[in-house]
Amino acid sequence: MDSFFNEVISGALGRYNYWVVIFLMMSGFYVVIGSTNLVKKIVGLNIFQTSVFILYISIGKINGGTAPIVWANAERYSNPLPHVLILTAIVVGVATTALGLSLIMRIKHAYNTVEEDEILAISLEEDEDE
């Protein structure tokens, strides 16, 4: 019984990080698909992506490691590859955000609202008018 509990605890310790990150990710995802305000959707998207970044970096972490910069006293380095990937992903993320936000500004100008429900209603009316 004891060993079982130990196993559970060590398993949980080895994974709590993932679980929290999954919670963060899913909250961001929820904001994207659950909210109707376009700005909030973009914020949600950013949170979603940032959480994925944390997941990646968690993959690269090695207990007792240091930042992967050559250093005389280092015993072992954390894995640099996820860092590189996430650097790229962050920049891709900000590019998407910038584009999304400019779209929102134009949508606001065109529809005078940034609420998805209202835009949908206006569009439906337009479809019927045509």
Binding site: K41, V52, L55, Y56, L81, L99, G100, L103, R106, I119
Partner: protein
């Protein structure tokens, strides 16, 4: 010397051509000329690649001189050489077309930006196709996606903006799902190189994490390829984008996504895992059958023909997934053939709609009444494309459906055949609506009289229309390419 760099040049030429296009922002004409030149160059490169691959087998190219899996690698095999040819071929036809169409549909200020976006999109799509590295694929996917959002947002209707935004959200969710999947794969294998992954995945067969990665990748790619019911972004995006963009995206973007799907299912996860452990066919077959029927019926009720074609695209994607789901070499051949054929037919149809839009300003079926007399050539090309969608013999659509049915027969799945036949009937009905309006009704009194579209629009339309007929009459070449690629994928030796 150049020959050995072809895989890199295939992507680098448009990638580095784009900044030049952008630098010519004062003269949209020059940036269009440059874009056209680039598209022809990439087409030539992809032909050269296809020939090389057929002669001497798979080509690998290591960027920076770093061998895979340490560096990023491009791999050209029969499968993606074929897809490269489709993408660059469509580009080589659509880019020349775009000048006049864009002149009319896009603001002067945005024109050179539009051409730059098109070149970037081309680069991205080619890159996705050729990439041998799972993460590099994501980066290039984002290039093509961002430029696609930009192009869509340039449509004149304000709904283009919301369509673009919707696509942006869905596309980004899809891309994020893909990187989650890739991340888990990396976590399990320590590699990002596709060939390397393919070797390491069989060892992990029963890992739950691998199953989750599979799920995320399929969902992510499914979002990108508008797999039913994740297709909601597609109709608006295609309907409100400028015509040249609709034509280009509709005939290439989803094809590339299907390619990625095939690549992941067959090459990376492997036939055994995808079909015998996960049984993805039990998802694909019902979903695609339902998609084919449902979206075809929805297409029947569209008044905007571009939108109708967009729904038809979702149905056609259903055929491609069905081919995968049939899980035999013939089925996969049908999928790959349909990649090619559908690119030709949708390209022709959207380009024809672009010509109509150029003359009458929209593509509503009511305003197209009696247009057959005034724009005979454009509408004739539309009819050819339409017949191809229906699957009339001697058009490309027939070939794909024939092979698909052949695959279903091999499986002995008769209901599938019935669905295909019924869907073809529905397709005929929605194409017929247009034909009837265009040819059999007279032009309303108050409608403005128009003349035939200019030659620079007509020629590309007809190139694709004739290609539809040619590859419908003589499909030996295309079916051989598709068949070889399919056989290699199934044998599991190929990458």
């Amino acid at each position: 010397m150049i020959a050995s760099h072809l895989p890199a040049l295939q992507v680098v030429v448009p990638l580095l051509g784009a900044p030049f296009c952008f630098l010519l922002w004062r003269s949209p004409r020059l940036s269009w000329l440059l874009a056209t030149l680039i598209s022809w160059l990439t087409f030539a490169i992809s032909i050269a690649l296809l020939v090389t691959v057929n002669n001497s087998g798979t080509i690998e190219y290591a960027f920076g001189g770093w061998q895979a899996p340490w560096g990023i690698e491009y791999v050209v095999d029969q499968l993606n050489a074929f897809v490269l040819l489709i993408v660059s071929g469509i580009a080589a036809v659509v880019f020349p077309y775009s000048w006049i169409s864009v002149q009319q549909e896009v603001e002067l200020r945005q024109q050179s930006l539009f051409f730059t976006s098109m070149v970037l999109c081309l680069a991205g799509l080619l890159g996705i196709t050729i990439a041998g590295d799972a993460f590099n694929l994501f980066v290039l996917l984002e290039i093509s996606s961002l430029s696609t959002y930009t192009m869509i947002s340039m449509g004149r209707d304000r709904r283009a903006l919301t369509a673009s935004f919707q696509y942006l959200i869905m596309g980004t969710i899809g891309a994020t799902f893909i990187i989650i999947g890739v991340g888990i794969l990396f976590m399990l294998t320590g590699s990002l190189n596709m060939q390397d992954l393919a070797q390491r995945i069989p060892e992990l067969d029963q890992s739950r994490a691998l199953h989750v990665a599979f799920g995320f990748l399929i969902t992510g790619i499914g979002l990108k390829l508008a797999m039913f019911p994740l297709h909601l972004w597609l109709p608006n995006a295609y309907a409100y984008a400028p015509s040249a963009a609709s034509a280009f995206i509709a005939s290439t973007a989803t094809k590339v996504a299907v390619y990625v799907m095939v690549r992941y299912l067959f090459s990376i996860f492997g036939v055994n895992f995808s079909f015998q452990t996960i049984h993805i066919q039990w998802l694909f077959v019902p979903v695609s059958l339902f998609a084919i029927l449902f979206t075809s019926i929805v297409a029947l009720f569209q008044r905007d023909i571009k939108r109708m074609l967009a729904y038809s695209s979702v149905a056609q994607i259903g055929y491609m997934l069905l081919g995968i789901g049939l899980f035999n070499v013939t089925g996969l051949t049908a999928t790959l053939l349909h990649l090619f054929n559908h690119a030709l037919m949708k390209g022709a149809l959207f380009l024809a709609m672009g010509a109509v839009c150029y003359r009458i300003g929209n593509t509503f079926i009511d305003s197209m009444q009696g247009l057959g007399k005034q724009m005979p050539w454009t509408m004739a090309a539309f009819v050819i494309g339409g017949l191809s969608i229906v699957g009339v013999p001697l058009t490309t659509g027939f070939i794909s459906k024939w092979v698909l049915i052949q695959a279903a027969v091999e499986r002995g799945w008769w209901p599938v055949i019935i669905v295909i036949v019924v869907a073809s009937l529905i397709a005929m009905m929605y194409i017929w609506r247009v034909i009837e309006a265009v040819y059999l009704q007279s032009r309303p009194e108050n409608a403005k009289n128009v003349s035939e579209a200019p030659l620079s629009l007509l020629i590309p339309v007809w190139i694709l229309a004739l290609a539809n007929l040619y590859f419908g009459a003589n499909a030996t070449l295309s079916s051989e390419l598709a068949g070889n690629a399919a056989a290699t994928l199934f044998s599991g030796t190929g990458f």
